[in-house]
């Protein structure tokens, strides 16, 4: 059984229904990419998994989120708190949402293993220093004493990753962890994070809009479009033979080395706004293959020759 299994969840926030029928699972030792453009519901999906939806006034109206055999929906806040940080850790895009500006770096990492693993002050410090070193930060002892503002953005994000690893979680949810960083720093952090996750056999849910990062790091991919799953497939299949036209078009939008000038075409139209979702398949106004059926009826997420896709006229 998968470590985390999300089955058909729908979310409402006030009168809006930003997510509909989101389905995917992650096994131990697996890196799952969650990709999509802005407004597709990537971060909201992360919030569902973390049980943070009530904080923004949202609620899950349908479906289940089963983590290690337990349904997280309806779990009392006190139980969720035990899971968060200890068994499911979050890495967010902006490291300063996770770091307290007036507490030393060391104390913030120590606190995680102290709280969740019950380590003594010395043991927690030793563990933090080890983690800092594993993230290839030079002079761990000096960093342990430093305040967040003394570090660069890339260093701060590494500290947040160290904090996420400190309690030995089973699942890490990383929401665009390198989007705010420069490319050379991004490449290093993705590499280190993937290495650590693989070494420890953790599950990683990597949320990103960057198909290059997905290609480099993930085992399987869920593609979201306008609050629904368009496709879920293995990494090789997603790039070699995508089953949903949106996936295919999305990959075609990335310039490749050696590509002929003038051959880069975008997807016509724009991502629909949540207040104005089209009927039927939400991709139909932008799809070159849309038929009458696509405008009338939302396609179900179904098994194809590989993976799952929600398309009436799915490519083989």
């Amino acid at each position: 059984m998968a470590l985390l299994s999300v089955q058909g969840i729908s979310v409402s926030i006030g009168a809006l229904n930003p997510l509909e029928g989101i389905t995917f699972d992650i096994d131990k030792g697996e890196i799952l990419g969650l990709v999509g453009e802005s407004g597709s519901g990537k971060s909201l999906t992360a919030m569902c998994v973390m049980g943070l939806l009530p904080r923004i006034g949202g609620s899950i109206t349908k479906g289940s989120i089963v983590f290690d055999g337990r349904d997280l929906i309806g779990l009392p806040e006190i139980e969720l708190r035990r899971l968060r940080g200890k068994r499911i850790a979050l890495i967010s895009q902006n490291p300063m949402t996770s770091l307290d500006p007036i507490i030393r770096i060391g104390a913030q990492i120590d606190q995680v293993s102290n709280l969740h693993l019950g380590l003594s002050a010395e043991a927690a410090k030793a563990r933090s220093l080890e983690l800092i070193a594993q993230l290839r930060i030079p002079e761990p002892a000096a960093i342990h004493r430093a305040y967040p503002h003394q570090l660069s953005g890339g260093m701060k994000q590494r500290i947040v990753i160290a904090m996420a690893l400190a309690a030995d979680p089973d699942l890490i949810v990383a929401d665009e962890p390198t989007t705010a960083l420069d490319v050379t720093i991004q490449a290093q952090i993705i590499q280190i994070m993937v290495e650590l996750v693989r070494d420890r056999g953790l599950a990683l849910m990597l949320i990103t809009h960057d198909m290059g990062v997905v290609a480099q790091a993930c085992d399987r991919v869920v593609v979201l479009y306008a609050g629904r799953v368009a496709e879920m497939n293995g990494i090789g299949e997603i790039f070699a033979e995508p089953k949903h036209p949106y996936t295919r078009e999305l990959i075609r939008c990335i310039p490749r080395f050696g590509q002929a000038p003038g051959s880069l075409k975008g997807i016509p139209g724009t991502v629909p706004s949540i207040v104005d979702y089209p009927d039927g398949c939400r991709f139909n106004p932008r799809c070159s293959n849309a038929q009458a059926l696509c405008r009338d009826q939302a396609p179900a997420l179904e098994p194809k020759s590989s993976g799952l896709a929600a398309c009436h006229f799915s490519e083989v």
Binding site: E37, T184, V214, A215, Q216, E249, P255
Partner: protein
């Protein structure tokens, strides 16, 4: 230096351009100066796309503003179409600005939120003191709007009613209003989704052909720059590290190589082990006597610490500033 020799085919020639900024008032805080752009020379060939790529703090946006004289240079020259920008009077500069326009990263901050699209597109003519009758104005706006692929229905919309991609199209239409020959594109797609980014790049490509434009394209995205640009200028900490004559040319500067190596291709069969650069980008206030990249360079030798490598010619259009280039 080769790059500074004005050539017939270059629309813009930049020679030894430097811009300093200072912080601290010298009273409570010591005054410190940084060189955001440090002795940069390059030319922008007519009818081509010259790309400037680098990470944050490399001076690429400052360079963009200096080239249009939106910022005054501390030292050095920008020659546009044979005219030295620094010696132009304000009114001459205003006339010259018809020729050179900029497209900004964030189109929302470039357009007054209280202006309709129609008014925003007519504003450049007003600034230039060019009166238009209502009919002329409508014809102009119609033409501009269809040129960038927007529907005429949007003329009376406000910026907040448009999506990011549509706003950027308005930004481009406005830059084109006065029929310039030269556009500086400062990360025009950095805040857009990839499907929209590709649309905008496609549009910029066809406008360039149609109108015979010359572009200076500023970006941090190397794969985009390699696709879109005829020449690629790699900057680091205010300095030019390497100028590549085309996308196929392999970089020989260690920084340019690292930048390329950090770029993940959208192809899972081509995963790679990234070479880890040691250290961080130094503070822009640091005074570095030698090569700016010396602290992180795997091939750094003594001379790199002492002497700044000059930008020298490697081959046709290929320039490099490195004492120990890669093979």
């Amino acid at each position: 230096m080769d790059a500074s020799v004005p050539r017939d085919d270059s629309l813009v020639t930049i020679t030894d351009l430097t811009r300093e900024f200072s912080s601290g008032d010298g009273f409570m805080k010591p005054r410190r100066t940084m060189r955001a752009v440090n002795d940069v020379s390059l030319d922008v060939p007519r009818g081509k796309v010259t790309g400037v790529v680098g990470e944050s703090g490399c001076g690429k946006s400052t360079l963009a503003r200096l080239v249009l004289r939106l910022l005054e240079a501390t030292e050095g020259k920008v020659i546009f179409d044979g005219k030295d920008l620094a010696t132009q009077s304000q009114s001459e500069m205003r006339k010259l600005r018809r020729q050179m326009q900029m497209v900004f990263q964030d189109p929302y901050s470039a357009i007054d939120p209280r202006y309709t699209i129609r008014r925003a597109l007519l504003e450049p003519f007003k600034v230039q003191g060019e009166a238009k009758t209502a009919a002329e104005g409508k014809a102009t706006v119609d033409e501009l709007i269809s040129m960038v692929g927007l529907s005429p229905r949007m003329m009376d919309s406000f910026p907040h009613q448009l999506s990011g991609g549509q706003k950027q199209r308005v930004g481009i239409a406005r830059a084109l209003a006065l029929r310039p020959s030269f556009l500086v594109l400062d990360e025009p797609t950095a805040s857009l989704d990839v499907s929209i980014q590709a649309q905008i790049i496609d549009l910029l490509e066809s406008l360039k052909e149609e109108l015979g434009l010359t572009y200076l394209f500023i970006s941090h995205d190397l794969s985009l720059v390699r696709y879109f640009c005829d020449r690629v200028v790699v900057m680091y900490l205010g300095r030019v590290m390497e100028i590549l004559p085309g996308a196929e040319t392999q970089p020989r500067h260690h920084y340019a190589h690292a930048l390329l190596d950090s770029n993940f291709e959208p192809d899972p069969t081509r995963r790679k082990i990234v070479t880890m650069l040691g250290g961080e980008i130094p503070s822009p206030f640091a005074k570095i006597p030698g090569c700016a990249f010396v602290a992180r360079c795997p091939a750094a030798s003594d001379i790199c610490k002492r002497e700044r490598p000059p930008l020298t010619r490697l081959g046709d259009g290929h320039m490099i500033a490195c004492h120990n280039p890669m093979d």
